[in-house]
């Protein structure tokens, strides 16, 4: 009948929220059902919104934020309306709670391979505005990719602040420092602050005076970038939601986890003009290896473990 999606921020961020909303719309349209969009709900208490949407007659509520993973199953229990949550694989409940833990680590791995190939200074940077698990796994995937491609390439990792999601000025400042430290490709994750990173990349020069390039995640910022976007680890959540709707109809909802990955192209690297053809071809080869299982990438969700993967400059200096 209808599905609802709840996102913490407005669905216009060229990222997590927008991808979620767009996917819900696409999946609903494909299934010929209604969609209720509730965006910009914040990270606070969403039980009121959940209860209301349940009362409005949604037959599935997609709680599209890891912050909703406690409240949504509770309200599902209370109202009997099935919910889908993220980042909580242990919470499955037949007919009621499904989990779609999204991790773009495979895509990030490819991005890392690509960055290591393309970095002129043999130094890349990762800038994030916070350390939620889904970002951690991509940071780790990227670092693993870089190292796999060329262990000599240095990786500088910097967090803007504990919850600096909208600190665009901070995003720019930190990114500029990372560029000054020698990085000429930046892998950036952050909501509003990622626009600050983009701004830094566009205005700062690399050590050799050349262009610095930016690799984005989740969404496609091509329309708002100015030729400095190297690529993006784009997530396509539509297949996941479509599968949920199908499982709901088949009454198998809540019995399986959904994930995205390279195989069904729900995770894919964005192709831009900045990527030379040979690099692109090489990366596609790696992609096939990952899909075939030849290369295995374990997702790393924990922040300290992520940092351990980065280049320790103080050690390197010795």
């Amino acid at each position: 009948k209808s599905i609802a999606i709840m996102t913490p921020e407005e669905g216009t961020d060229f990222g997590w929220n927008q991808q979620g909303v767009d996917a819900a719309k696409a999946a609903a349209e494909a299934a010929g059902i209604e969609v209720i969009v509730a965006s910009g709900l914040g990270y606070g208490d969403v039980r009121p919104a959940l209860r209301e949407i349940a009362a409005d007659g949604a037959s599935l509520i997609i709680a599209h934020a890891s912050g909703y993973a406690t409240s949504a199953p509770e309200i599902a229990e209370e109202t009997g309306i099935p919910v889908a949550i993220v980042d909580s694989p242990q919470a499955l409940k037949a007919g009621l709670v499904a989990d779609y833990t999204l991790s773009g680590h495979e895509g990030a791995y490819l991005a890392g391979r690509m960055a290591a190939k393309m970095s002129r200074s043999k130094h890349v940077g990762i800038v994030v505005s916070g350390e939620p698990p889904s970002w951690n796994s991509q940071s780790a995937g990227f670092a693993q990719g870089v190292k796999a491609e060329n262990p000599e390439v240095k990786i500088t990792y910097a967090v803007i602040g504990p919850a600096a999601y909208s600190d665009a000025a901070g995003g720019r400042r930190v990114t500029e420092s990372v560029i000054a430290a020698g990085a000429d490709i930046i892998f950036g994750q952050g909501n509003g602050s990622s626009f600050g990173m983009l701004q830094a990349v566009e205005t700062a020069k690399a050590g050799d005076g050349g262009k610095v390039l930016f690799i984005d995640v989740i969404g496609d910022k091509t329309s708002v970038s100015k030729g400095f976007l190297l690529s993006s680890v784009v997530w396509n959540i539509t297949p996941v939601y479509a599968a949920m709707i199908k499982d709901l109809q088949d009454e198998t909802f809540g019995t399986k986890r959904y994930a995205i990955g390279l195989a069904d192209e729900s995770v894919a690297l964005l192709k831009t003009d900045q990527i030379p053809d040979d690099v692109w071809t090489a990366v596609q080869t790696v992609r096939d290896q990952v899909i075939s299982g030849e290369i295995k990438i374990e997702p790393v969700f924990e922040a300290t473990a992520v940092r351990a993967l980065m280049t320790d400059v103080s050690a390197a200096a010795q």
Binding site: P162, A168, A169, G171, S177, A315, A317
Partner: protein, 311 residues
Amino acid sequence: MSGFLSETFLAALLFGAVTAAIPLLLAGLGEQMSEKAGVLNIGIEGMMIAGAYLGFVGAYYSGSLWLGFLTGAAGGIAVASLMALLCVRIGLNQIVIGIALTLGLEGLTAILHHFQFSRSYPRLPAAEATVIPFLSDIPVLGPALFRHHLIVYLAVAMVAVIIWVYRRTQLGLNLQAAGDKPAALDVAGIDVIRTRTMAVLFTGGMAGLGGAYLANVGAGLFIPFITGGAGFLGIVLAMLARGRPGWVLIGALIFGACLSMTTAAQVAGVNIPTDLIQMLPFLAVMVMLVLFGRRASLPAALGIAYERGAR
């Protein structure tokens, strides 16, 4: 050579510290003048975000950063004039109005951004730096301190101007009297309401400029909630400085330096949670307060509306 030790990197860190400090400096200087005149301007965060939004709009549509600073300051002043009208002229509670203005403008600018920019996320070109001859050639310090946009030097020069105003002019005396004993100022023939209004408007202008700097130079774009509490830090700086503009500058630079330190530590690969590093500037201030916290000499009439002949 290690990236951590490279000159370029150190310079970038210092440069970033200055960039981060400027909005705090402007907000702190502005807040200080309100407080000196007896108005606890809690609405400064709202003035900053209004300045950030309007500053960006001005710069984006006109293509001139200077026009952006102008519209930003004007935005801050517009909010401040509301505050002056409500809190200075008719004497409403400064905390209620201050918080209300902050909440309202955060919401309003977010809405405007949503309808205006959330599909395009426009960004400004890099701010043109005014390179100071000779000084800018000093290794590390040169590029860090002497290659900023002109507004940065103006902001720092503002410290000297304000010191001069406080110490050497009638206006300085008026401001202090307005905060310490408004009735005495009134019977000396100076309009207290006008003096305080001027101080609040100045705060608005400075906060608006600070917001505009944050958006136009600091980030190069506007997004909702971009000020993220910078105004409240301005209040803290103004109070810590106890009426001395020089200390606002020092405090702002320390905060900026702490932010850069967190980046430096991370780039150096020190594996400490950022949350812990981020606590450092606040911890430092608390330690300072514990060690040197003497009786805070805030103006006697701070927070109290003046009404002539009331008792």
